[in-house]
């Protein structure tokens, strides 16, 4: 300890003699990525997908989803990894997503107050989604991956951002599950069967912005999504956190006591957030995109 002190003192002397803190700039932030937690009731990234090309049908296309990131680094090492997981894949594992072929444009709103309706079942063509009650939600299972670990795409990340304040992933990352078929019992009698399906996300060129204004709260990426036979290419843009809303006031970063908001939405004021009432989610302000914010 003493020798470290002495070395430090000599280093201080040299440092002092040379630069003396006249010209030193504040250190750049490390590569972090924002994560929500049920502990503080914060969600993950609000992510928008734009299709570039592909063969999948319109009703399975990605448009908007909640995407969760998590950062891993053992102390004292320089290896940083992140995990990426979409709500779409996560809901299959949690039993909240039953119908792979469910048309999202259909309103599955026939839930009664008690909440017995836990499933939205399509028994025919579009437009005839019918609410059915099941005894227990049924998580989908991949026999080759019973713990669901493959739902997380894992990849290495830079330790420090580049000169533009962007952190890059060092390779591709894949999340892939092949769910087996399921047959569930309906409360009203009878059963419903769901075919097996394979779903895969491949994440490429994930760029996470790390500046003092945006500490890991913005990202862009390229995503290849496959469902059974088809494949689509997307660009993805996301900001953190995802906040649900019914009007613009709910998205405001400031508290609005008269309207009943004890505190702000938790969104960065630079996002100039407003409410997309169709999605029910706060989105970036008019004319702002993740890329334009990151460029600042």
């Amino acid at each position: 300890m003493t020798s470290r002190l002495m070395r430090g003192l000599m280093a201080a002397a040299v440092l002092g003699a040379l630069l003396g803190g006249c010209f030193a700039a504040q250190p750049a932030p490390e590569c972090q990525v924002a994560a929500g937690t049920p502990l503080y009731d914060t969600n993950n990234f609000a992510t928008f997908f734009t299709k570039k090309s592909g063969t999948c049908a319109a009703d399975v296309a990605l448009t908007f989803d909640e995407v969760g990131f998590q950062r891993y680094q053992a102390p004292g090492t320089k290896d940083v990894r992140i995990a990426i997981r979409t709500a779409r894949m996560g809901t299959a594992l949690s039993g909240e997503r039953f119908e792979a072929n469910h048309d999202p444009a259909n309103d599955c709103s026939a839930y009664d107050e008690v909440g017995d309706c836990t499933m939205c079942l399509s028994s025919g063509g579009a437009g005839d989604n019918v609410c059915q009650a099941v005894d227990d939600p049924t998580p989908r299972v991949d026999p080759a991956d019973p713990d669901g670990k493959n739902a997380n795409a894992l990849v290495a990340l830079d330790l420090n951002p580049d000169a533009q304040g962007v952190c890059h992933t060092k390779a591709e990352a894949t999340a892939s599950e092949s769910f087996r078929a399921e047959v569930v019992d309906l409360v009203d009698g009878g059963t419903a069967s769901f075919p097996a399906f394979t779903e895969r996300y491949v994440w490429k060129n994930v760029n996470i912005v790390n500046t003092t204004s945006f500490p890991g709260t913005l990202f862009t990426a390229e995503v290849t999504y496959s469902l059974d036979g088809c494949t689509d290419e997307y660009t993805a843009e996301g900001f953190w956190p995802l906040v649900t809303c019914s009007d613009d006031l709910a998205c405001s970063p400031e508290a609005n006591v008269d309207a009943g908001y004890a505190y702000g939405s938790g969104l960065n004021p630079a996002f100039k957030p407003r409410c997309d009432t169709t999605l029910g989610v706060c989105v970036l302000g008019e004319g702002l995109t993740v890329s334009s914010l990151a460029g600042r």
Binding site: G8, A24, P38, P215
Partner: protein, 1045 residues
Amino acid sequence: MPATPSVHRFTLAATLLLSLAVAAQGTSVLTGTVVDGATGKPVPDVLVTVTSPALQGEETAVTDAEGVYRIGQLPPGSFTLKLDREAYRPYLRQDVNLRVDRTVRVNVQLQPESLKAEEVLVVGRAPTVDVGSTTTGLNVGKEFVAAVPFVQPSAAGVRSFEALTQVAPQVVADQYGFGINGTTSPENLTLVDGLSVTDPSVGITGAALPVDFVEEANVITGGYQAEYGRATGGVLNVVTKSGSNEFHGSVFGNFTPGLLSGSRPEIRNDATIFRTNERLWNSGDFGVELGGPIMKDKLWFYAGFSPSFSRVQQERRLYRYLVDDMGNQLYDELGARRQAELPNTRQSHFADSRALSYIAKLTYLINADHNVAVSVSGSPTTSDTGAPFTAGLAGTTTTANNVDVAVRYAGGLLDKHLLIDATAGWHRQIASTLPSDGSRIGSTFGGAAQPQVIFRRTAPHSINDLEELNPEAAGLCDPKGTANATLCPATSAGREYTMGGIGFMQEAAIDRVQVKGAATYLFTALGHHTAKAGIDFERLQYETTKAYSGGAVLRESTSGDAFRDYDRYGYLTGPDTFTQQDSLHAVSSSNGIAAFVQDSWSVKDLVTVNLGLRYETQQLFAGDGTLGLTLNNMLSPRVGLIYDFTQQGRSKLFASYARYYEAIPLDIADRALTAENEGGFYNSRTGTPPCEPAADLRKIGGSCQASGNDVALGRPSDPSQKALSIGQGKTPVDPAIQPQSTDEIVVGGEYEVFADARAGVSYTRRYINTVIEDMSRDEGNTYFLGNPGYGLAKDFPLAKRDYDAVTVYFTKVFAEQWLAQVSYTWSYLRGNYAGLFRPETGQLDPNINSDFDLISLLANREGPLDGDRTHAIKAYGAKEFVLSGALSLVVGLSYEGRSGRPINYLASHPIYGENEAFVLPRGAGGRLPWTHTVNGKLALNWKATRENTVTLTADVFNMFNFAAVTAVDETLSSADLLPVVGAGNPQQQLCLAGANPSCKPGLKKFDEDASAIVDASVKDYNPNYKNVTAYQPPLTVRFGVKVSF
């Protein structure tokens, strides 16, 4: 950041000052003009010789062409001045008192030998006005400390020098020390023999030594020159005793018996069934000090050794609520719930603290021009907080071992026109907070291996769930397992019940290595210049090892259905793959460089102009060695003007302007600039096997932490479903961040009214420029370090702390058997930022406390700050009565009267929790009453032989046992009350002032999920609001014996 358990408390640092101080080691100056008594013309080439018991050998100087002489680098003490020149009568003046760091002017009229007639008598005494500087504050010397009662028995019984600070005007005691000029105590600089002994981690005073080892202390409250920096408060400059040519020393002992303490009314709080109180059992100290020559006029030594102790009795009583036959709560006439003590449930024990203070010094005179000093001192301290009254596990022991080692060199070149001072020193603190049973971080046995369990279910637990009471008491309370206890609720809204291990543990090693040098050059150019330049390197290091006892803290959820378990140190290496660390180890550090230039220019001997400039930089490094924060180019100008209208050293009119920069303590580097890896799992209360922490504490580690009990609470997009990581990464820094600084303006005047006595008046104004704090623009989701109101934090309000004070004072040094010191200060302290700790919660996290964290926290924060005392009177006096040839009695008296501090209306904030929201503007709750403290002292001195004196003393503190209220419950509500913006209407204020439970002032609150605003109900108000929570300390008596030789 929000307040967490890891708040610094007892970091008394033992500073081993190895200051090798040999010979004339000092910073005081004697100067003056010698004129011909007949013609009035200046006399050059007069040989001026000064001698003193405090000086090895003698110091000489020769007057210049204008008759001016100057002798610097003198230690404090009593000097004899002798002037010789051919054709003139020799001149002798004795008892010239020099205090630490002072410039005293002694002008002399030499009488030509040719002049016959009567003897020229030396009339009057040496002047005491410090004509060289604009500093405010005062000197506290040995005679003052011996005669005046004000040094109370303090932590571990050490009567430490820090108490000397309180004597100066414009100084207010706060939770961690003494705040000077409206600032907080961590903002001060404490120097012992020239080296900083400030705690490098949090900025409070990091050393303690008994006043018996202290020669003198200079409390500098403001107006100081560029040679002092790294403080936005004041400076406490302490000089320890040195040896002399004769052997002198003393043996002393003091004892404060708790039996003679005054009584205090019981503090009631009907919101809880527990009442704890503490009283002093006894405290005392014993010591030996000795100084003398090893070689006369060449090598001196001084050594001191003093163990001390303090014992406090802690008692806990248990109560139950009284209900009528129908089960309804009974109330007393004041509206408080009636309670009765449970039979045979009183428990008490002792909490002890001990310290061992020591000092050893060598002073070596190389030759007439050069001397060297070495010293070592320390005050290792151990404090027990006492075993908890709950399930018999270990209590907490806090230790603080400090060592200060220093080497000092002082020399003169060019016929003493160039003076060089150089000092190198090492200040080291080893502090720990560990279980009292001797277990340490990493132990697999004892208190360190037991997790802490916190019960906090909103529907209260009965005391029978948590403790084994005797059958009679148990029968009077709700039975075990009651879902909603009403008779003996052990938990309630805002009140937790803790059992098990001590929770947070820490072992820390804190170091400061300091090397500094200064050169003083005297020259003449349109007057006399005393120019000084210096450079100073400082390296701080803060090594911490943190752990939670048993590796986890189990915190009951408010619904009672689960125990949260996420205070573990550890990290995720993959989804749901949590690696637990037994402890967290980090070494953060800081490099600081300072350089200064100053000149004290006596313009044609009419007016003195002080000009100085100080340059500082500081770089803070995170726990992994990377740069965390850099503070560049801190330039502080210091300007002062002094005019002595008597031109005799008997008066001054002065004005000064100064800028002070803060040196940021290392706590920020350890907690915000270093990633803290914390996380854990969710545990279910019921599962296989069942998790019942209260059932058998030994099983806590097993059943509650079994992996079968983990609950998957992750949402679909969360990569980890059962484990969570809540550790913050490094807090990013606003690229445009500015250092923290305060400006000061002082204007005043002083006049020597009669021999040895001066009176004066001064006006001080201090205001803050920029503050560094951690802030969040997104309601606590992400944080950054910046300046409120600037840069990234433009939408935050500016930090404000405005202090205005006018002080009128009178000081008479001890001469002709009496001394007096009286001051009255009127002051006005307003703002929204108290300083480096938060008085409302006690959070000591300099520059990263919860001030300014969220914009929504900042409503109503402006107003009179906690340290505001409109009126403060400090009066001290002592008189010696000679009873006979060998006996004398000294009677000392002190009076301190202060108007009360402001009272706030505090409620809970939806995100930050208890006491973080100001419902009405700061201070709207009125003021606490005046506090008056009268202390008395009797000292009987018996000159047993020519060399030896025996002194018997009795100090009575708070002689009249005044019991002024010094704190009240300021929590208006534990609910999330809405701040009232716009001062609140008078009806609301009146209603709240009465704290009438049925009054409806129309306050609103956020409901449970903070989604709607509803009216606050009567149930939301804290029935204890504005009730007393603390009284002024009671009367205590201290007896002392001292044999001096």
